[in-house]
Symmetry: C2
Subunit: 376 residues, 2 copies
Amino acid sequence: MASRSPRRLQHDSAVLPADGRRQNLSLVLQALYTGGAMSRADLARRLQLTKVTVSDLVAALIERGQAVELGQSDVVRPGKPATLVDVNRTGLHVVGVDLTAHEVIRAAVLDLDGNVLHRCERALGGSSTGDDVLADVLALVTEAVGLATEPLLGVGVGTPGVVGPDGDVLTAPNLGWTDVPLRALLAEATGLPVLVCNDADAAVHAEYTLGDGGDDLILVKIGLGVGCGLIVAGRRVRGAHFAAGEIGHVTVGTDGGELCSCGNVGCLETWLSAPRLQKALADSGTDTEGPLRAAGERLAIALAPVVAALGLTEVVLAGPHELVDGSLLRAVDETLRRRMLARNASTLEVRVAADADDIVLRGAAVLVLWDQWGVA
Amino acid sequence: MASRSPRRLQHDSAVLPADGRRQNLSLVLQALYTGGAMSRADLARRLQLTKVTVSDLVAALIERGQAVELGQSDVVRPGKPATLVDVNRTGLHVVGVDLTAHEVIRAAVLDLDGNVLHRCERALGGSSTGDDVLADVLALVTEAVGLATEPLLGVGVGTPGVVGPDGDVLTAPNLGWTDVPLRALLAEATGLPVLVCNDADAAVHAEYTLGDGGDDLILVKIGLGVGCGLIVAGRRVRGAHFAAGEIGHVTVGTDGGELCSCGNVGCLETWLSAPRLQKALADSGTDTEGPLRAAGERLAIALAPVVAALGLTEVVLAGPHELVDGSLLRAVDETLRRRMLARNASTLEVRVAADADDIVLRGAAVLVLWDQWGVA
DNA sequence: AGAGTTGGTTAGTAAACTTTACTAACTGAC
DNA sequence: GTCAGTTAGTAAAGTTTACTAACCAACTCT
């Protein structure tokens, strides 16, 4: 019964001392980033490392410009006053790019806490080819990079479509792209570290890192299409073929539905995409409640098995405020609870993403932090 | 917008040199376990470590009895002949325990490849209390431990219900248990490492480690109830409250259904549990196709969003052969493909678990390997 | 002023990997 | 049959990393 097929290793390759060091440096950055400024002694207690080691790690981080000393703590208590250390929050910027929309692509310079400092955008001609769009993206990113007033940690991009592990956009119908090596192109153009991921994945990163929820959440992004990003046990789910989160064309319910562009009937997108919802609202006149409730119920029907199977504690909706935040949200919440075991539903939180307009920009920025610093 | 709530760290605590060492020792065991016997030089090439380091690691493993030298390789080529090293496959045993069934609990002694060597079992009185069952389990495990003819690596237990991270059975209605510290009790009784997990989780471990599929799969276990185990990116999903996989009471479909013991209508279990299926088959006379197809379709309706959202490549069914392997399997396969995007369905494999009767025993054994050796 | 407490550094040590250089043992060609 | 070339494995020395032990610095409290 033994199967000796040459297969996966739990982690791809060995752990060298230097890898441990890198991990510990990340841990310090992470502790500071989420815990705020603290002393070396505080870090030592929190990370279970000795003061000596922490001092050494902090010195390395300061030398690289990733951490800074902030002077003495003014807490009064016996003993030598502590020297506060923090992540270099003000001296580093990040560029975030949101390619979600179809008419206009947007970029911004953000600080490390995800605050937008400068913006720029670019309209796309309605009938542009993939190459045209690509040229626009390059110009936009170059412009954004120029707006930064501090050294840049990197560039993060949230794009619709399926993104490979090396930042290649494998397929993005809305942008007319197939196998575009976006990361490599932007890295060459800017000379900076560049991270590319799906827009819903970017959004869930923002929600996870900048929000204060748990380690198991799903974010559903409602726009032209419907997609989701998943964090399970504090890790992003990418899927075997990097297409995790592609739930827009899952059939939902057992009672038919409208024809979808994919050829099937009753896809989640036919119930829930922003254009269809807006049309449904327009058609229904004054009854805004009905279509929104129906959409929310459909979403919950699809989400219930996912939430139950993964034991998620948070469901977050991101989309046009006027569509998502109201009847739709309430319908999702109620339907979800009705369709799963009460005991599991009791720890469930269903909510709307804060600042949904910028969530992809901010998530893209977080992606850079995650990659460069190992901060989550 | 910064949220500085004191929160999770990516990995709980720092990485010491000794942790790296432990990881590398696991990596060697893993490479040997899945790749079969090979030389130190082969290991060095595969793990990207130097020959020196590998020799050192192998020496440590041999000293602990976890690896053995098998003599010279008989491959003819220039150079000094290689000394083959392998995991100690024959000199170590594992005890696996399956508490799934309600009338009889089973245990076995297995070798490291998951082959069952000796069995024992124990009937449960129909109306036994939780304490009675616990006494039976203790006696059964003691008996199984006595049957081993080689040193035991540990004891693995697959149990229905929700199991906490420390091996406490938080709740298992079928066995009459609430907050039973099963791991601690068995560890004390046997003096061995003991691992406890949910039965469906054990089964998916067996399928993942002993099968030769990918890193993203779901296993649905159909018995008295319905539950599932999930491997995502090579890691088991436990869920925020350790209740991942509890899909039995998710409502499926939009057209009602039968009343479930939980009080809801249309739960997955009402369509799919073994007793209900058997009853449906008995009621339907000669038409065995109908009820089985219906059940399979229901399961697929619930699974489609999960498979799509996670980008899974394998769906495995485990349950009574006569129920699962046939119309039901075909219905799941067909319905699943119909309800998701063709591109994603193309890499999907839907199958029945090999050797479903022993899958929990074998998964429990694998669990011990996973824990003790870091082998997956 | 002195005792106690807390923050941080210096000096030396142990663990774990690397590089470099070696021995051992084989194949294959002349 | 010998010698060049190749592969496996070991030995010795060096580097990185974090640890322990001991210390100094700077504050509060009595």
